[in-house]
């Protein structure tokens, strides 16, 4: 587990205003304690079509590094929307006036992140240059953002690796902070791209400010304050605050008054776009790409983006027009509402189309030692004994309420010999085999002599339970558990106790999954436990406890359905059949289905996307000719796009 280094005296964040970029940077970095470390410096800079580090500030930083006689490498973090819109690092560098600098694309040297098992980055790749850097410096540029409120330094880290399907940006940024933290962070606010979404549509406001510090979370807190925005409006910042936090002590040296004249995203747009980003990340990504002017190497045949640009570009053209802004808000709001409704539909009748979730473990392993795992059985057993004493119905389910929690046991006997069963169904995986499991992370903390898990920590994400709660705003279950596995000659059991619920979906979720021998050719499956889940607001208002018969019937039905499917999943695992719900999120702007849908709509509307091309080109070149111009002409000369020396 990587620890965050905290200077004994507390770090200083320097805020320097109203100085030229060169002087501002020097002073801010000096306030922050100067250039840290020794050896090569790797600088990760924000480089987007709308927002990028200013050439003056970058030159000043590189000059400072060179004066310290240290080698330097510059990596360019390109926002996903720009990559989706066809921008490359050389094109962006040229457009940003950084063509004379060598800017490397982090995606060109991806290597194993070598991250711990509890991390989202485990098994994934990120820029090897950044990973191995002796000293890392992060430079962000200030901008507003329609969905996140602001985009400062933390989102720049996300450019170090390819998008991780199913993962929340905040979780990813937090894991990057833990694994490959920068030692110096600079926020370039010499200019701030403001408006509804300064991060995708450049609208520079001179703000003449440089912020520097050791901790990007604190720097972004300061930056958000300067923009007059709620820091936690950004899910990236909120995720890092939650998972990593800030140093226990720090000092801000400088003027924190918000910038004057800065236009912020209207609150309704922020809610609508933020809601869309949360409910339909793929669609939000597509809209962001469509809101971004296309790069020189953009695919001219992308009818989807062209069609969407036809709709979005006029709405983004004049922010002073409240009608356009209202329409833009409506587009996001309607899309978000449709996506939410679609998700609710899929949760109930089309679970195989849901995107699976990828999450970090969600707890600090150093907070729990083997004794905590051993104690799980002791703590949970009294409830399990109570559950096992309950009368059961013909379906093998028995339950009752205790202090608002459901104490239950459910069993099934299968016609499978016990030895064959435990060979094929690993009880230590049992939670991930349950019904409606969307994803999670399991970390084995100790094993027995035969290499079988004994102590585990696990995070599980499930669909809302019961599923129909999704129709009334119910959120999925997200719980983190400590576990211990017990093995005997005639039974194996996985005991768990929930220690955290990152989304507040559960107060209690403790129990045991057991496989036990029943004669020569049968195995008994049982799950017992105690659960108390958070009920959506609508159902809190209804308060089913006032209707005990209905409440009990719904509870019985919910448990019966969930565990019937759970046992069916275990049987499917035994028989080697697929059973998991969901699909791996496709790493593409919108997925084939959505592209086909938009393509269909474009065709049906008579090629609406083929109207005036507002991408910035004077004339849309025929696709073949444009591609040919980038390759080989009739004389056999191969043409390469010039400008910049970035790879």
């Amino acid at each position: 587990m990587l620890a965050r280094r905290v200077p004994a005296a507390g770090p200083v964040v320097g805020v320097v205003r109203d100085l030229p970029a060169h002087a501002g940077l020097d002073r801010a970095v000096a306030l922050a304690g100067g250039l840290p470390g020794r050896g090569r410096v790797v600088v990760l800079v924000a480089l987007g079509s709308a927002v990028h580090v200013s050439p003056d500030l970058l030159h000043a930083l590189l000059e400072r590094v060179r004066r310290a006689r240290r080698a330097c490498t510059v990596l360019a973090s390109v926002p996903t929307a720009d990559r989706d819109a066809g921008w490359t690092v050389p094109d962006l560098a040229l457009a940003a006036g950084l063509g004379d600098e060598v800017l490397l694309d982090p995606w060109q040297d991806l290597a194993d992140a070598d991250a711990p098992a509890s991390s989202l980055l485990h098994g994934r790749t990120l820029s090897a240059t950044w990973r191995r850097a002796p000293t890392r410096v992060l430079v962000g540029a200030a901008a507003t953002d329609a969905a996140q409120g602001h985009a400062l330094t933390l989102p720049v880290l996300l450019g170090l690796l390819r998008p991780v399907p199913g993962a929340a940006a905040g979780d990813l940024a937090a894991d990057l902070l833990r694994l490959v933290p920068p030692r110096l962070v600079v926020l370039d606010a010499t200019w701030t791209s403001h408006g509804s979404s300064g991060s995708t549509r450049a609208d520079p406001l001179p703000t003449a400010t440089v912020v520097a510090g050791r901790d990007p979370v604190v720097v972004d807190l300061v930056g958000a304050t300067l923009l007059g925005l709620d820091p936690a409006a950004s899910t990236v910042t909120a995720g890092c605050l939650r998972a990593v936090g800030t140093p226990p002590r720090y000092t801000v040296d400088g003027d924190l008054r918000p910038f004057t004249g800065l236009r912020r995203p209207p609150e309704p747009l922020l809610r609508a776009a933020g809601g869309l980003a949360a409910s339909a990340p793929a669609l939000a990504r597509l809209l962001a790409a469509a809101a971004t002017p296309p790069g020189p190497d953009a695919d001219p045949d992308d009818r989807v983006l062209r069609a969407l640009r036809t709709v979005l570009t006029p709405l983004l053209a004049d922010e002073a027009d409240p009608v356009r802004t209202g329409l833009l808000t409506s587009v996001h709001g309607l899309a978000g509402a449709a996506a939410t409704a679609l998700t609710a539909w899929r949760t109930t009748v089309d679970k195989d189309s849901l995107a699976r979730a990828d999450v970090p473990l969600g707890l600090d392993e150093d907070d729990y030692d083997p004794a905590d795992h051993e104690a799980v059985e002791t703590e949970v057993r009294p409830w399990v004994e109570l559950a096992r004493a309950l009368p059961t119905g013909d379906d093998g389910l028995g339950w009752r309420r205790v202090d608002g929690a459901v104490v239950f046991e459910v069993t099934r006997t299968v016609r499978a010999p016990y030895e064959q069963w435990v060979e094929r169904v690993d009880v230590s995986e049992g939670i991930s085999l349950m019904a409606d499991y969307l994803g999670g992370r399991r970390v084995v903390r100790s094993r027995d002599e035969q290499g079988r898990p004994v102590h585990q920590a696990e995070r599980n994400v499930y669909l809302p339970q019961p599923n129909y709660l999704a129709l009334s705003g119910g959120v999925g279950v997200d719980v983190v558990k400590l576990q211990v596995v017990r093995r005997g000659p005639d039974a194996v059991a996985l005991w768990w106790r929930t220690v955290a619920s990152p989304n507040g979906s559960a107060d209690l979720d403790d129990g045991v999954l057991e496989f036990s021998r029943v004669g020569p050719d049968r195995t008994r499956l049982s799950v017992a436990g105690r659960q108390r889940f958070t009920v959506p607001l609508l159902w809190q208002v209804i308060d089913l406890s006032r209707y005990p018969e209905l409440h009990d019937a719904l509870t019985t039905d919910a448990y019966r359905q969930f565990f019937t499917t759970t046992f069916d999943n275990l049987v499917a695992r035994y028989e080697g059949r697929p059973f998991a719900i969901g699909r791996e999120s496709a790493d593409e702007p919108a997925g084939a289905g959505l592209s086909r849908l938009v393509d269909l709509a474009v065709s049906w509307l008579g090629g609406a996307g083929g109207g005036p091309d507002r991408s910035g080109d004077d004339e849309p070149a025929p696709p073949a000719a444009r591609r040919a111009a980038a390759e080989t002409d009739e004389l056999g000369f191969r043409h390469f796009r010039g400008g910049g020396r970035g790879r």
């Binding site: 098992a117 098994g123 009748v349 299968v414 016609r415 230590s428 359905q561 028989e575 080697g576």
Partner: protein, 350 residues
């Protein structure tokens, strides 16, 4: 035997092996042979079959196309040309006995709830092409047997329920159809259901003790459609059955089901041909086979086993499977088939 990969054939194969016979499964090129028995890839032509039938004492001919609203020429080709090829090859190779898997529909049906026996024949009632082809197949096999000096015993199973369910045939589709029907409707008339495992055992009995030239109904329990659907509902934990849908409305439903099947690219659960059989009683007596010592299991157990197999497939959409509340006897109805042991995949570790 032929057709060892089918629902009936797989159980025939198992029963023959259990009875101590040395079984070779004849399969089509490209098919996966059944595990645990010898196999040979053949085509249903006498030239392809004759060489592999040398030193074979008996042949069980299960291979067939069991489908409705299918090209009648295809049905006829497999049933008639294939049977002719089998009989010719058997005669050439000196095979002593052939057991032909026919169908109970060759004994016709009744307009009243009275079971019929082997001496009954189809009347003028509407019948799908499949029924006609099976009648012709039986007649052909018995005639050729007499001509060629090969003993032919005909097995006539009724609605065979059970698994494993790879392709959803018309028989198991009867259960799936009810579970997919939101109205939980039923039909007038009835059918006879028999367990696939019992049909397999019946073939073994007929191979050993069946009288040449005779037909044997392999039937289980005769039920009205309402009784069958009620059994399915009870075992699956769903409501119903509700209203009774007559022949005209069944035909309309079949048309709609066919349209939806074309739109969705799935198979139709109710064909127009099947709809025409609504209202008749396809009830049978198995006294003749019973006299040889064979007896079927109860209908409840038959349906429970079939449901258990059906729930282990994707023939029912996930949301339908998850809406069911099967009784414990469904879960315990069949022994589980273990998959391969997993490779040792270690979870992520610190």
């Amino acid at each position: 035997m032929t057709g060892a990969n089918g629902l009936v054939g797989s159980h025939v194969c198992t029963a023959l092996v259990a009875a101590g016979h040395d079984v070779t499964a004849l399969v089509r090129a490209g098919s996966t042979p059944p595990p645990g028995v010898a196999s040979a890839r053949v085509q249903l032509t006498s030239e392809s079959l004759a060489p592999v039938l040398a030193d074979v004492g008996a042949l069980v001919h299960c291979a067939a196309v069991y489908a409705y609203d299918t090209d009648p020429d295809l049905l006829a080709h497999v049933a008639l040309d294939g049977t002719r090829a089998v009989m010719d090859a058997a005669a050439l190779a000196g095979v002593r006995r052939v057991v032909l898997t026919s169908s109970s529909v060759t004994c016709g049906s009744s307009s009243t709830p009275e079971p019929v026996d082997e001496d009954h024949h189809p009347g003028p009632e509407p019948a799908p092409a499949y029924f006609d082809v099976k009648v012709r197949q039986e007649e052909l096999a018995l005639r050729l047997g007499a001509e060629l000096g090969v003993q032919v015993v005909v097995a006539c199973p009724s609605v065979v329920l059970g698994g494993p369910v790879h392709r959803l045939g018309p028989s198991n589709a009867l259960l799936a159809r009810y579970l997919l029907d939101p109205t939980r409707s039923t039909y007038p008339g009835g059918c006879d259901v028999v367990a696939a495992e019992d049909v397999g055992t019946a073939h073994a009995v007929l191979l050993e003790r069946g009288e040449p030239g005779r037909r044997y109904l392999v039937s289980g329990t005769s039920l009205t459609w309402r009784e069958l659907h009620g059994l399915v509902a009870e075992l699956a934990g769903v409501p119903g059955p509700g209203a009774e849908v007559g022949p005209q409305l069944s035909a309309a439903v079949a048309t709609a089901a066919g349209w939806w099947a074309r739109v969705s690219g799935t198979g139709s659960l109710l064909s127009a041909e099947e709809a025409r059989t609504v209202g008749r009683f396809y009830w049978y007596r198995h006294d003749r086979l019973g006299a040889l010592g064979w007896s079927p299991r109860p209908a409840r157990e038959t349906v429970a086993v079939a449901l258990s197999w059906l729930l282990a497939t994707d023939h029912l959409p996930r949301w339908v499977r998850e809406s069911l509340r099967p009784l414990p006897e469904v879960h315990e109805a069949r022994p589980l088939r273990p998959g391969p042991p997993p490779r040792a995949a270690r979870a992520t570790e610190r």
